[in-house]
Assembly symmetry: D2
Homo-oligomer: 357 residues x 4
């Protein structure tokens, strides 16, 4: 199998012209899987509909170009919020079927697996049952990719929020999770962590979710959505003998300003530094960033207003990360997502990049 990856910019939340172009360049007959990972503009508040719109547009583009059958082999995860200088765009990943089996002695190359969990009942969202469903789906995605837990490089999970409109029907303990994108991300991360062997399943109890900061996965980026009831998983693994020429490298971020981690990651991935020691002239094939901030909002020993302002924390974090990425890589095109609950120690995050060779 060979994984191809390309990027496409969007002229608006309903624009899939560049995506259609990328799709039409593929040989439909050789495609085993398609995955689309996109940043869509929008308010990124709970009433945000750009996700549905992006989904509609992308669905229509796939259907128009490749047909209904390909749509069934396509997984899409959209993250809303392009605050700052994030260009609305998407990554298209296509895994091609190859004649030859994987050679275990070959170089480790990027392979793709996907899975979808069943719908999570409203009252289970943000709780242990939700996490276990994610774990199951991540295991299915590993099987789909033919990857062992050790080979998994990065897992994207899109996880459903418990809508606030159900508040009136919920028991108190569950009601506290209503409208919380943080809980939706936390269970997704913990579920993935269970599947990857990084998190002890027994410790993922309702009382620990979103609170026990010693629990976290190191290879997951979780986003939440209000437009879906199930969990979507896109899994990337570096597998010996997988075809193509891509691999994924990642690096934890100590905090949202951890420029040295980005520089280390770029050097390790083999990018060439520019005259200033930055990487403005040699962009990776894909760049993913998950950022968070400590509860309370302290950073580098000083106060920020991330949790004490007119808008949600994510809307502070995403534009900051776009400044960090832009400073180091000179680009506005990266998959930046805010809210790293149980995807890193408090205040930490994760950076990952796909490179050739």
């Amino acid at each position: 199998m060979t994984l191809l990856l390309s990027a496409h910019d969007c002229d608006g939340p309903g624009d899939a012209r560049a995506l259609a172009q990328r799709l039409s360049a593929l040989q439909a007959g050789r495609i085993r899987r398609l995955a689309i990972l996109g940043k869509t503009e929008g308010t990124a508040t709970l009433n945000d509909f750009s996700r549905e719109l992006a989904l509609n547009a992308a669905t229509a583009a796939v259907r128009n170009v490749l047909g209904e059958a390909m749509l069934a082999r396509t997984t899409m995860v959209f993250s809303t919020g392009c605050e700052g200088v994030i260009t609305p765009f998407g990554y298209l990943m296509a895994e091609l079927t190859e004649d030859a089996p994987r050679d275990p002695a070959g170089p480790a190359r990027l392979a793709l697996g996907v899975a979808t969990s069943p719908a999570i009942p409203v009252a289970d969202r943000g709780g242990r049952a939700h996490a276990l469903a994610v774990a199951e789906a991540v295991r299915a995605a590993m099987a789909d990719a033919g990857a062992t837990a050790d080979q998994v490089a990065l897992v994207f999970v899109k996880s459903p929020v418990l809508p606030r409109r159900h508040l009136a029907e919920l028991p108190p303990g569950v009601a506290a999770r209503a409208g919380s994108t943080a809980f939706a991300r936390a269970v997704a991360a913990l579920g993935a962590g269970i599947a990857l062997g990084e998190v002890d399943s027994d410790r993922v109890q309702d009382a620990a979710i979103g609170r026990d900061t010693t629990l976290h996965s190191r290879r997951v980026m979780a986003v939440s959505g209000t437009e879906l009831a199930h969990n979507e998983v896109i899994l990337l693994a570096n597998i010996p003998g997988a075809g193509g020429d891509l691999r994924l490298e990642s690096e934890p971020l100590a905090d949202i300003l951890d420029a040295p981690a980005l520089l280390r990651l770029a050097r390790r991935a083999g990018l060439a530094p520019d005259a200033h020691g930055l990487f403005t002239g040699s962009a990776p094939e894909a760049l993913f960033l998950k950022v968070g901030i400590r509860p309370g909002g302290q950073l580098r020993g000083r106060r920020t207003t991330v949790f004490e302002s007119e808008f949600d924390a994510d809307k502070h974090l995403r534009p900051v990360a776009s400044g960090l990425v832009g400073a180091i890589f000179g680009t506005t095109r990266s998959f930046i997502s805010g809210g790293a609950e149980q995807q890193a120690p408090p205040g930490g995050g994760l950076a990952a990049m796909v490179v050739r060779g």
Copy 2:
């Protein structure tokens, strides 16, 4: 004369405890001028009142610690908006009276001048008359500092917005400026440019303001306010023989992601790079950033949503700049201001730092 500079964090928009502490460390009898330049949290929309609150708190702190007389010698400019990871804080600058006159053969050191224009009539705001009043005030601040136009290193101007509530009473041409912080900044920058000899006064006509992108000053940072009717000017000049050990260096930013410009500025100012070639270990005494983006919001050849989103452009730009500054200097404490109308070519900006020696 000797200029002293210190920074003080704020625990809230009404918090002046650290400022009071800094003030009490000064010898009141030796102070010729005080200037306070602060970033205050708040919504930074037109209904924002944190500026008044910060002003009230700072005023009270000065009065309590140094007395009513010192208050008359104090100039305050607050810029609202700490989106992203900007710590609410302020710089206190105190110019001391010295016995000896300046030695023109001495090293160039930082000196301070301040001025206030008369109140700008509502119908004049954002127009040529407003710009000329700023020019006059900047000339007065130069005189106050004993500086020639060439010696001026940086001018801060706070300029009054034309409130939207006057819409009904205004002629159409003027009404277009109502509620526009951009026009308030543009006239401030052009006025300062006239005084500094960088902008031809004859070209500063109503039709050119906010539109003629060939006109701009290179040594001004303009902020707008709704809490004042006059213009406040704080001027910093590097003057041979001025006392103390501070100087100010500046560097134009090609755009809001211009990390190389920050690295150049830091090196030129004499800061020591860290192992990564960044400056996370050697912060300057003060750091000022003015950032903008092209009309339309294009950056590095790609689309951004800065002008097509739920909130004002400034709220996108400030957090991005906080990510840029944090990446290079590892700090959340810098004076970042969005909106560089006629303070730079379209899309450009300005960085400046105060260093010792």
Copy 3:
């Protein structure tokens, strides 16, 4: 011809289940025209996408239930913004083909006409050419309905906004209209006024649009959109001998609190008052409200913060009107739209209702 009208609530911006149900109750073969007039939730800022989503969902519902051919005979106008207690919903209007011609001696009954203008070039939007294109479209809708100007009871126009992203390419005079929903509504109202003989075409010059408050139509409700480039017109006329049992009555609102006008309108339309003299027990078939406020925001001699706050004026006006309507009619279901530029004298508005018999 007979006009049928029904309402359908929406469970979310992408929900068209109730609409599909209403559609399936119609006999497709007898339908000459369909018109859908909807209120969709969303942020109603320039980046709002709920309009596109509603359009997609409604389009799909019509196509699924009635087929592609009917879609071509369907006109949709969505107004975004359900702030306050406005239930997201829509009115479906279906005009049936009848065997018999209209009897000019028959009672005046409601008839429907629709039209679409060509796309308005970006540089023309908000100017005289835009208004003239609307006038042309309204005349076409009159012809479609078989109505004279006198018979027209109410015209809905959806009109394209000049997107801010074009700012950089526009001449100054035109740039002032960029991002302005007010200009989009103003030209729509003036264009309709020209077609209805209420506004003198010669006076609709660029300098007068949005400014000359003596110009206004009395029978138009204009909404603006960023998701379209052309103008959509839905026209309702009371025509002698038109079939069915509906008619439309309207009443100007002196201001957004003009409860007496609503009471007068309800009585004139024949609704039965309740014990308190309100109309909480006898809702009309459809209720339309267009509300505005004076420039400056004064109301009943007092200050409001409609133009001096964190969010756009429309977001203040819509919820207020939902309180007014709810107080008088005891319902959360009405088509409320903010921004009455040149649809009424400054501060005024318009109320209209469809009733039986």
Copy 4:
């Protein structure tokens, strides 16, 4: 004792000119108590500072006009948020010292009592201890007014929010209350209910607060603030023989559209209806409204987006209520506050007015 009441509009959050005028009309020597109850403009999000600004301005006005000693006898409660058509304004209540004791056989007239609780420790906020502190303060205010629980007509409580910045230091159960204005109001209402004998103290346990909807007071309006750590109480009682000519009448609201309740209240209070049966020509001396909506946001059997939108529920409710009040009373000047947690059954609210005679 005689209670005087007047209203004063504000030209901005820092404007106390009209208040100063009202104050200067009083005979300082005869004043026993001053209370100021104000609506201030602002964003009404957690970072809102207009409250502090209003407090500063009002404090300065009292000090300047009546002196430091009177300031100590003055209680101020500000509620932020003038969305819709609420004029920023305040009510000034002054209770004068009289020579004669109250005549128990005299007519019931309005009397004023005030109290302040000690500061509520951060970890106690929103919990039982907070409620008990409010109960104590309300009892103190009753004693101050010389009122029995039965005579109390209305209690205003301003109650401190648990700031989100303390999140990191709090146990899970308490952390759930951080940043919640709802919890701050709930404990205030329950505490007042305990003091008034309407709520059983034993049932006010942490698990019940904000959740047990069978618990509520009927004579309290609770507002929350982030600018204070203690609770402020302003209590109004109708007491036989109290001087002056004012009395307070109140009426529960079944929901936020309960116009009939307002009509009943106005008639009972003795106001004269206009030709339409409304009360647009005979405003009360003061008008107070507390409104809420059911969890989930259903109203009159239909969906609203109050809990599923870009901004907080309060920002939907206040402008709706301003439309309701404006429809019935034709005024923009009333004390409208959103969030009726445990001040009414779910979805309900409270209206009250002060009238003469």
